[in-house]
Symmetry: C2
Subunit: 180 residues, 2 copies
C-alpha cells in the first residue's frame, strides 16, 4: 500500500473519530473529509460504505480498550484491575456516541461488530478474570463471553435515564462477582 494512501486512511479515521464525537455518527461525510484535508472520493475509495468507516472507528476503540488490559494488570491488584477495566469498557459503550446504537442497530452492516468485540476483548478479559480468580478475589464460573455481553447490554444508555445509570448497573454486577 502506498504511503500517501496509508496516511490518508489515518487522517480519515482520526477526523471521523473527532467528528463523530462532536456532531454524532450521522454527520455529513463532507465534514469528515474537510477535516481530514481529503476529497470525498478518497473517503469512498477506502471505506466504500459509510458504515465501513463507522465500523473502523469503533474497531479502533475496541483495540485500544484491549490494549489497556496489560497495563492495568501490571499496576493494580487483580480484582481492582478487573473492575477498572470493565468500567473502562462500560464507559466506552455508554459515552461514545453511536457506539451502542451501532451495536444494537440490527443493521447487517454492523453484524460483525459484536463478534469483533468478543474476539478482541475475550482474551484480555479472560486473563484479568483468571488472575482475579486465582487470587481468590472473584468467584469462579463466569465466562468472559457472558460478562462481555452483559456489560455491552447493561452499559448502553437509554435516552432519558440519568447519565451513569448503565455504568452503575455494571459496577453493581461486578461488585456482585467479587468476594469480600
Amino acid at each position: 500500500m502506498r504511503t500517501d494512501a496509508r496516511r490518508n486512511v489515518e487522517s480519515l479515521l482520526e477526523a471521523a473519530k473527532t467528528v463523530f464525537g462532536t456532531a454524532g455518527v450521522d454527520a455529513p461525510a463532507k465534514q469528515i473529509t474537510d477535516l481530514a484535508g481529503v476529497g470525498v472520493g478518497t473517503l469512498y475509495r477506502h471505506f466504500p460504505q459509510r458504515a465501513d468507516l463507522i465500523k473502523a472507528v469503533i474497531e479502533r476503540e475496541i483495540d485500544a480498550c484491549a490494549d489497556a488490559a496489560p497495563a492495568l494488570a501490571g499496576e493494580l491488584p487483580p480484582g481492582d484491575a478487573l473492575a477498572r477495566w470493565l468500567d473502562r469498557l462500560a464507559e466506552l459503550i455508554a459515552t461514545k456516541r453511536g457506539f451502542a446504537a451501532a451495536l444494537h442497530s440490527g443493521d447487517p452492516a454492523y453484524a460483525g461488530l459484536p463478534g469483533y468485540l468478543l474476539e478482541k476483548l475475550a482474551p484480555a478479559l479472560g486473563s484479568l478474570l483468571d488472575a482475579a480468580t486465582a487470587a481468590g478475589e472473584i468467584q469462579a464460573g463466569v465466562t468472559p463471553r457472558d460478562l462481555l455481553y452483559a456489560v455491552a447490554k447493561l452499559g448502553a444508555p437509554l435516552p432519558g435515564e440519568e447519565p451513569g445509570y448503565g455504568r452503575r448497573m455494571v459496577a453493581l454486577l461486578v461488585g456482585g462477582l467479587r468476594r469480600d
Copy 2:
C-alpha cells in the same frame, strides 16, 4: 378531526407497522404511503418527522403490551402471569425490528420513548408484581422501574448472537426473582 384524516392516520400506522416488520425501519417513506394508499404529503401532514411515525408505531405496541397484563392476571397464578408478561415484553423488544435500535439510538427524537414505556408499563407491571409478592411467589423489594430497564436492556438483541439469547437472559433474571 375529520373522519377521513383519522382513517388515513390509521392506515399509515398499520402500513408502517407492516413495512417496518418486513423491510426495517429505514424503508423509504414511499413504500409506506403506497401500502397505505395515501400520498407522501399526507404522511408528513400527520407525522412531520420520520421519527414521529416510528415513535407512534412503537407506542402502539407498548400500549398493546400494557393491555395484555389484566388478561394474563385473570388467567394464571400471579407468579406465572408475571413471568409470561415479562416474556411478552422481552419478545417485543427482541424481535420487533428497530424497536431496540430506536430505544438505544441516543437520537433526541426518541428521547421520550423510555419515559413513555416506563409510564405505561410500570402500572401494569406494578400490579402483576404486587400480586405475585402478596402470594409469596416472588421476593419483595424489586421496583417496576428497575425491572423494566433491565428487561429493555437485556432483551435487546446483539447482531450475531443466537436468537433468543436476550430472552433467555431475561427468563433467567425472572427465575432468580421467584421463590421455589
